[in-house]
């Protein structure tokens, strides 16, 4: 009797155990389709957006022609959320008086499905070091937009990373920091020349290119400015062009945003639509190679 009872109990036990085990497996089997199996790559959790969001310039100065501002502006300290950069912020004395030049934060220009490139550039600048002196080659916090994140860098945020990240953040995903053709600026210059089929266009430097930007015929805001050096090429994002009266003379300042160097905003004099005071500006055509843009 005892033996029969124990046999019965074990049979029932084994049967139940098998049934439950199979049901458990079935519940998580993607083949049976009864349960959404967790993805091997879970949904990303992005770092928080950096503070001090970019505020675009709107109707502060009379814009006679699209793509350019009239008059150079001076003023005192500005917050990082203001629509200007104070160039003295990067000097040891800081932006401590009202004679310092303000550089308007550019808006519009090259854009992808997730915003303008220059807008992303301003966000990246906010994450670069803002100490008074030193190299701007670290990035924190990471900048994220539309499923792309820059990651953080304690060092090594070279100049090409800024345009690569800004374009990707804007939704233009053709460039990558893992592609040596994009990472090295001299090769990026070549890369840009063969990308016209995907909306990328290279505009060789000429005074007419600056004039067309000022008139709004071919805006350069957010384009990558390639600067020739004796030992390579440096890049920055075209920020804004400020012209002074008489505007037809083509005098003023063009500014770029950049990483990996001592100053994240650089200004170059524009004289009769020629960009001056670049590292090798003996002849205009050797100093600025051109502009990598997106249509």
């Amino acid at each position: 009797m005892g033996i029969i009872l124990f046999s019965l109990v074990f049979s029932v036990y084994s049967g139940i155990q098998n049934k439950f085990t199979n049901r458990t497996l079935a519940q998580f089997s993607p083949k049976l389709g009864t349960f959404d199996i967790p993805s091997a790559t879970p949904m990303p959790t992005y770092p928080p957006e950096p503070t001090n969001p970019y505020v675009p310039v709107t109707n502060i100065y009379v814009t006679v022609k699209p793509g350019s501002q009239v008059g150079l502006i001076t003023g005192g300290p500005v917050s990082s959320g203001a629509p200007y950069y104070c160039i003295d912020d990067e000097d040891p004395d800081g932006c401590d008086d009202n004679t310092a030049f303000w550089v308007p934060k550019g808006s519009g220009g090259a854009a992808g499905s997730c915003g303008t490139v220059i807008e992303q550039g301003h966000k990246i600048v906010n994450s670069l070091p803002h100490f008074l002196k030193g190299k701007r080659d670290s990035l924190s916090p990471a900048v994220s937009n539309c499923g792309y994140t820059t990651g953080t860098y304690s060092s090594g945020y070279i100049s090409t990373y800024m345009p690569i990240d800004a374009y990707n953040l804007a939704g233009l995903r053709e460039m990558s920091k893992n592609n040596s053709q994009n990472v090295l600026a001299s090769q990026l210059l070549n890369w840009w020349n063969i990308q016209s089929t995907t909306g990328y266009i290279f505009i060789p430097y000429s005074p007419a290119a600056i004039q067309n930007h000022a008139s709004g015929a071919r805006p350069l805001t957010g384009c990558v400015m390639f600067l020739n050096l004796s030992g390579g090429v440096h890049v920055g994002l075209v920020n804004s062009l400020e012209l002074v009266a008489p505007q037809s003379a083509g005098n003023g300042i063009i500014s770029i945003l950049q990483s990996g160097v001592s100053f994240y905003v650089d200004r170059f004099v524009v004289d009769a639509w020629n960009i001056k005071n670049t590292p090798l500006h003996q002849t205009p055509l050797q100093s600025v190679a051109g502009f990598g843009c997106h249509t």
């Binding site: 124990f6 109990v9 820059t150 100049s159 920091k177 001299s186 003379a249």
Partner: protein, 156 residues
Amino acid sequence: MEKLKKILQNKKAVLIVGLIVIILLFINLYSKLNKNKITQFAPDENQTEYIAPSLPPLTQSAELREAISLQQKADEEYSNWQNTTRTDFPWINELPVHSEKYFVYFDFNTKVFIGKLYPLVSDDVDEIKNEIQNKLTTDLEIPLEQYPIDWKIFPQ
């Protein structure tokens, strides 16, 4: 053995023992199922950490490392140029000076000030030049004796 035989012959005792065994087996079964569920559901801690697709891979190719290194050198050259110009010409951030009648900047390469004047017919050009020179020397403390001004006049 005799006692065991007696117990086995006692139906009540067998039922009690049987029930106890059944309960124990079900407890064992329940715990096994729970354990199974935990191992099935527990996410891999490494999987919950998102790795940004934009970050360079941990194992970069030699080609990519070389590209980064070369770009760092180019950026270093540019950075040195930025620092040198600001050290050699500490007033450079104060330029250009301008009004409706002039635009003046410093040319790094030729070490010369370029003074572009846009006078009206009624304007005194020398007066405009004096105004500029005063601004450069008094306001900006630029040693003009070291750097000549190349005047270019565009009558309006």
